[in-house]
Symmetry: C2
Subunit: 374 residues, 2 copies
């Protein structure tokens, strides 16, 4: 077996799907997994089980690999700086990752670049929030995801949980948006950037429920603006690998940046089956500074629907039911135990007709979630 070429920190489904791409390209990944049976540890032979906040554990994992990448954004930046000082290339690096880790820093940096964002302010007290004005969205500056650490505040009492959290908080204007979009790019250290089609992301309870590629009826000017914005942010922030820019399309036709993620992203899962090069393959190609693959769509429409943990416990048994009912979908299961609302897989359908693809993907996902036809 050739020596490992890339260390991946974190054993979730993103690392698992990186491995699918790595198998094809013949790239040997070495994984740091949180536990022996996490999603990616099931499929990456060369893995270590340990704590990604422990520097010595990180050193053990990366010892023989020139490059390190990540399943998530939670590795302490000081450890990344140490690894870089010791000769390992972290991609993305700590200077870029900061803006995916800290929403307050992200807002300042993007505003400095002139990138349109919702109005925001760091708040230390209820008085600060009152001064900012309601309604507002209050977010922890660090660590929130999938609707956690985010509160919509229409009356001051709605902010109690936020202030009780004891964490740094950011207030943002409650944007009147028509829908959420996502612009995904891959950027390599040598500066090559490819942009995926801009997609529409539909949320339920703060969690991505489904993605439509491309975003239907998107004004070509907004489409171009979204791609250009993502390319510019990736370049200015020095991102390597995939950058996902989650956007609001406001009711008055503007784009505002909501969040940044510097790793393959749920809004890009459709690319495995729907694009010429998946986001996972381009993430690997980018962080290894290989030439990037074409990021265009292979079909007029692709729809990705998440499988969230529901009434169905045994996804293995349900596979036959779902595939029999809807043969023409691509099923992706992550090897994760079912818990309510947990992302345990996704389904992609593609084709020339959006409604047909939507129906198929939703139908199959629903069979995995609730076990009955919606």
């Amino acid at each position: 077996m050739p020596p490992p070429q890339l260390a991946v920190i974190g054993g979730g489904q993103l690392a698992r799907m990186m491995q699918q791409a790595a198998v094809g390209l013949g790239i040997h990944l070495r994984l740091l997994a949180e536990a022996p049976d996490v999603s990616a540890a099931q499929v990456i032979v060369d893995h270590v089980v340990g704590d990604y906040t422990d520097l010595d554990t990180l050193r053990t994992v990366v010892a023989a690999t020139p490059v390190v990448t990540f399943d998530h954004e939670h590795v302490p930046p000081e450890h990344l700086r140490t690894l870089e000082a010791e000769g390992h290339a972290c991609r993305p690096g700590p200077d870029a990752l900061l803006y995916a880790q800290d929403k307050s820093d992200m807002r300042s940096r993007l505003s400095g670049l002139g990138v349109p964002c919702p109005r925001s302010a760091v708040i230390a007290s209820r008085a600060d929030l009152e001064e900012f004005g309601l309604p507002a969205v209050v977010k922890t500056t660090r660590g929130g995801y999938d609707g956690k650490g985010v509160w919509v505040v229409r009356a001051m009492a709605d902010a109690d949980a936020a202030f009780d959290s004891g964490r740094g908080l950011l207030a943002e204007e409650l944007v009147d948006f028509r829908r959420e979009l996502s612009a995904l790019v891959a950027r390599s250290p040598s500066g090559q950037v490819v942009a995926y089609p801009v997609v529409e992301s539909r949320q339920a309870d703060g969690v991505c429920a489904e993605v439509i590629a491309p975003a239907p009826d998107l004004d070509p000017a907004l489409d171009a603006q979204a791609r250009a914005m993502a390319e510019r942010i990736a370049t200015e922030l020095g991102v390597t690998g995939i950058l996902a820019v989650e956007l609001f399309e406001t009711t008055d036709g503007r784009l505002l940046v909501n969040e940044l993620a510097m790793r393959p992203h749920n809004t890009g899962h459709w690319t495995i089956d729907g694009a010429h090069t998946s986001q996972f393959e381009n993430h690997l190609r980018a962080v290894l500074d290989l030439p990037l693959g074409p990021a265009g769509a292979r079909s007029p429409w692709a729809v990705m629907v998440n499988i969230l943990g529901g009434a169905v416990d045994d996804l293995d048994a349900q596979r036959a039911v779902a595939l029999a009912a809807v043969p023409d979908v691509r099923v992706h299961l992550y090897g994760k135990a079912v818990k309510a609302g947990r992302k345990v897989g996704h389904v992609t359908a593609y084709g020339p007709d959006l409604d047909d693809a939507l129906f198929r993907a939703r139908h199959a996902a629903h069979l995995f979630t609730d076990g009955v036809t919606s």
Copy 2:
């Protein structure tokens, strides 16, 4: 981690590519590998290293799996019968595999079904061969592949190596063929069959060099006949999983069966990137008796070119060169050490223009093989 659902015997690139499909479907494979570092052992966590001709080793591997499948056709049939008697479903089973293992039995069986084959006879001596008539193709009845164990005999002296081999021999007429085709089907134990588009397979020195999907300018009647023939053989022989029927298209416009393979096949590698469901996914779905996926093509043309071991030793280093020269191809490397002529990977290109796809796939493969542009 869920318990293993499927044991795979043999750790070559076919098992490796089965794993790519298994990761997506969330199917846990358990592998018997010939050595610690073979192609599939690099990517399947749950693997045992051992000898597939040893019954106790096989028993250890399959202990917890209800179903067993294969990377190759060389497991002794008596062991498969024992495993079946002990409650494991072998897919394909020994009664079907016989016809992929023994060319003499295959010829008798197909002739009995009325399937057109080259004229053939088992030969035990030079006198038998003279009686059969020259020119002829002489093959060992068992164990040949990729041109090994096959001799074109125009004069009796050409058969010396065949007779010296001490193995059972079959003589076949030297077919005057226009080209070689391959008809691939997947069949499940419950009898569902799906047929892939019939492809043209181009050989060099007895080894598959490139595959074009679909076979250009194929007479629709021959296309239908080839598919029907493959479906009928799969059904009559009780094949489960992928069956590849290698065919001669004769200069006078007939189809003759050349070889059978009962596993994913080199002439189906294009399906990973070019079909709605890859042969590897449909093989898994078939042997697990899951509903089969659609086997149609995603693009007007797909071309697969094998990467055979050549002047390039370090495929990892060459990856950047090939992808930079030809970004729009799908590269598959098998994690195998380079040896002259060995299949170490393949490249697929697809699109609306055959010449363009051929150029791209050949160019990229050539960069991996010889390191220079052809």
